[in-house]
């Protein structure tokens, strides 16, 4: 290793410790006995116990929150991508004024605060009986996410040369056929990226389920926030809950890290 690289690692080390330690300490605590969890000074050597996880999943019934989170996230991803892909394609290829207007409106919507949607949706949900259902969560998450998905897909489709569409249509494809059979498969990496970001948004969302659900449709983030940190005897269970919620999403994103990092800059380079 060159000297420069060694110095860079040394300088980076404090930041990496700052970034990782909260989660590492949480994991350690989740496998402690409750008495060890809030010892002063901290206990570093202990026999690991999975009691907290058993309490969490068996006694607290964390499973039903997981089912809610999984169903809502999956439905949001599928619907968002289906709507967003074709719109992104249309916006990448159509040069008319309507396209520009739609892009501009989507951008404006992206800047809006969550409360601006939470409030009317709360009222509508109360009146229509959709309150505390997964359906209303999916609807509102698809809405919040649509502007971003459309912009992202447009960027990915712009990278695919228009000559390919034309060649497919000369060979007898309709516009829709060219999109579905030729262009969409080429944009698969982009679709994975857009899917990852949608998943992250839907799975991590907090304000919407806080406002729009009560008991039946509660998702994981709301469940863990209700645990709180007030009762310290309960902390190992809260820690186990934190780890259980964070692990799946971390695993998915790190497995697809290449696609994820690509998406971070997608909005920046192509305006």
């Amino acid at each position: 290793m060159s000297r420069r690289a060694v110095v860079a690692w040394l300088l980076l080390a404090p930041w990496l410790a700052f970034a990782i330690s909260p989660l590492a300490l949480t994991f350690l605590t989740s496998v402690k006995q409750p008495v060890d969890a809030f010892a002063v000074p901290p206990v570093w050597v202990f026999a690991p116990s999975f009691e907290a996880y058993a309490t969490l999943w068996l006694d607290e019934g964390f499973g039903r929150f997981l089912v809610n989170s999984a169903v809502v996230a999956a439905a949001t991803v599928v619907i968002s991508l289906t709507l967003g892909a074709s719109a992104g394609y249309a916006l990448a290829r159509y040069k008319g004024v309507g396209g520009f207007t739609l892009l501009l409106i989507a951008l404006l919507f992206r800047a809006l605060p969550r409360t601006a949607f939470a409030l009317p949706f709360y009222w509508i949900a109360q009146r229509t009986g959709l309150y505390d259902t997964r359906t209303v969560l999916v609807l509102v998450l698809v809405a919040i996410n649509q502007p971003f998905t459309v912009w992202m897909f447009r960027g990915f489709f712009l990278e695919i040369p228009e000559e390919i569409d034309e060649a497919a249509m000369v060979d007898g494809c309709t516009r829709w056929g060219a999109f579905r059979r030729v262009i969409l498969p080429l944009a698969l990496p982009g679709a994975i990226t857009a899917g990852l970001f949608t998943l992250l948004l839907a799975y991590n969302e907090f304000l919407m389920p806080v406002v729009l659900t009560a008991t039946r449709a509660t998702t994981l983030p709301v469940a863990i926030s209700a645990f709180g940190t007030e009762d310290i005897r309960y902390w190992t269970v809260t820690a186990a809950g934190s780890v259980s919620i964070a692990l799946p999403i971390i695993a998915v994103v790190l497995l697809c890290q290449r696609y994820f990092v690509r998406g971070l800059t997608a909005g920046a380079v192509k305006g």
Partner: protein, 284 residues
């Protein structure tokens, strides 16, 4: 592409946005003109909700605190993000692992991050509180306004800096090598090359990240809800948290709607300088 094809392909998405975003927005605007409690009778009050909000001390204290929060966290995120990106760029072996570690706080569910942070700083047995005590610093965030504010800002910097770092890192991959070398031949040191070549190259990305950060931090809600509930008193109530309290905890939907509309105006004002500079750059 023909107009008809455009309508067919973009139609469903446009319809979803109109139905699920535009219609609720108009409804929000409508609600803001009513005195409106759930289950009660709505009565038209005109601009009274706006007048009440603009005349209330807690609105202005929330605006003040949220602006301080944005003004402190955004420059920190940019500076630290740039530093981390430059260091990542120097690495040769183990880069993937370092990038994954940097990314971690950004992926973790925000509520989990905030729950963990409030535990780490829980007096007297939280890990970080014990660490600070070893250094002779006593830190009980819950009892002091600025302690709570500092903790919220620390959390935000932890959670949001990875985004800045990775965007800048991606930008550095396309840094102009030839201009770098030219500057080196002209006698520019590392600092000179950074200021005259790297920074101008990253300028659009800096602008982009700053814009996103201003937008996101102005809307901060999760950490306030979990860590401080806006307290002690209402010292840490951000604009979004205040809107939530008024609309849902106090069930004053009309007043909450007016607040939400004012939040939108706030975002527009905050983003105006960015939009202007983007506009200028695109014209030249």
């Amino acid at each position: 592409m023909k107009g008809r094809e455009f309508l067919l392909l973009a139609g469903p998405s446009a319809a979803a946005m109109v139905l699920l975003m535009l219609a609720p927005m108009l409804m929000l605007l409508g609600i803001s003109f009513y005195s409106f409690h759930l289950g009660g009778v709505a009565s038209w009050v005109g601009l009274e909700n706006y007048a009440d909000t603009l005349g209330s001390a807690r609105f202005w204290s929330a605006v003040g605190w949220t602006l301080i929060y944005v003004a402190i966290t955004v420059p920190l995120e940019l500076a630290l993000g740039l530093g981390v990106a430059l260091l990542l760029d120097e690495l040769r072996g183990g880069r993937g692992l370092a990038v994954a570690s940097v990314l971690l706080p950004f992926i973790v569910t925000p509520v989990v991050g905030t729950v963990v942070y409030s535990w780490l700083f829980k007096d007297p047995w939280g890990f970080y509180v014990q660490g600070l005590a070893l250094l002779g610093i006593e830190f009980d965030y819950a009892s002091s306004a600025w302690g709570s504010r500092a903790l919220l800002m620390l959390y935000r910097v932890w959670a949001a800096t990875p985004f800045a770092a990775l965007v800048f890192f991606a930008g550095l991959q396309s840094a102009p090598v030839d201009r770098m070398e030219a500057a080196a031949i002209d006698g520019a040191g590392p600092w000179g090359r950074f200021v005259h070549v790297t920074l101008p190259h990253l300028r659009p990305l800096l602008l982009f990240v700053a814009m996103i950060a201003v937008m996101d931090n102005w809307r901060e809600f999760d950490s306030v809800f979990v860590m401080t509930h806006g307290g002690p008193g209402s010292a840490t109530a951000t604009v979004m948290y205040l809107t939530y309290s008024v609309a849902f905890a106090e069930q004053a939907l009309g007043r909450g709607a007016a607040l939400a509309c004012l939040t939108v105006v706030g975002i527009a004002l905050l983003l105006a300088p960015f939009v202007r500079s983007l506009w200028r750059e695109n014209r030249t």
